[in-house]
Amino acid sequence: MIEVNEKYCKGCNLCIEFCPRDALEPAEELNEKGVHPPVEVEDRCVNCHLCELICPDFAIIVEEEEEV
């Protein structure tokens, strides 16, 4: 699960650009900071953490879900 902290996100969308699995896309609506923050595309993330490492704004956390 990808958590996005909208208070910190500046909308550079590098997470979307660099995700090898297209697990993120820009939100349709502008948020109150005037950016399109990333939102997760369901069932795509494989917990590689690349978006979290690249994010310049400490705005992304990838939480791994336990496999059932």
Binding site: N5, K10, N47, I54, C55, F58
Partner: protein, 300 residues
Amino acid sequence: MAEEQKFETEEKVERKQKTGMINAKELEEKYLRKGMMPHIFCTGCGIGTVLGLTLRAMEEIDMDLDNTVFLSGIGCSSRLPGYIDVDSLHTTHGRALAFATGVKITNPDLNVVIFTGDGDCIGIGGNHFIHAARRNIDITVIAVNNYIYGMTGGQVAPTTPEGDYATTAPHGNVEPPFDMSEMAMSAGATYVARWDLTKPVQPMKSIKEGLENKGMSFIELLSPCTTAYARQNKVGDIQEFWEWYDDRTMLAEEYEFEEEFSPMEEWEEIKEKMKIGVLKHEEKKSLGERMQEKIEEVKI
């Protein structure tokens, strides 16, 4: 320890074992001064990524924050020590390495890390830089190279590629650029690595190795300046600009292979790229060790 806390800690340990890292929120809680986020850097600027990678490298080696000093000079990247909850000296332009020399010699037990930029390090601070490398003083220098003077509004830097535009090179830069890593290597630094930020694991590992190296470590990180550089040079939007670094860099081994085997025409294009990777890693006595030996020899 309360059950809940214990569970939380165990969860962190488990995740760390799995992924080798703690998450952004934990990083902020553990390493950053309170109330500093969001940081001042522009949208898409790489300096925030440099900070994140540095903190993760520190986490990996379990650095003692009470025994660590960060220093910097002047410029965008030099604002970084203000975010980290450690003793820090935000010094004058270009002089951080000279201040760091005094700190490290006086108390060799301190971990000493410097954030610097290209202008700060090889422009105004060039002399301190080559001499710190020559001495192989046990400090780690993380140099953010964005090819431009960002904080002052985009003036030409000693690293700006020839032909690129800047506010003080409005007709295109006529000077050849400095290669900071080559300079560090030839001046005597014992660990030198250069990376762009599109592959974040490698630079993180290099920062860790640099922190562990007992001597002068120099890690050059090619970091996009999305405001001052991108606006004046045709590099596309933020995402295209970050990708652009992939085209302008090549792994050192690959580069050297191409140098030897690629046809002349191809090589002409390739040779303009910047070599990335761990460029040098050797063991050599540090300044502190040599000084201490001398003290043992002459002390009364």
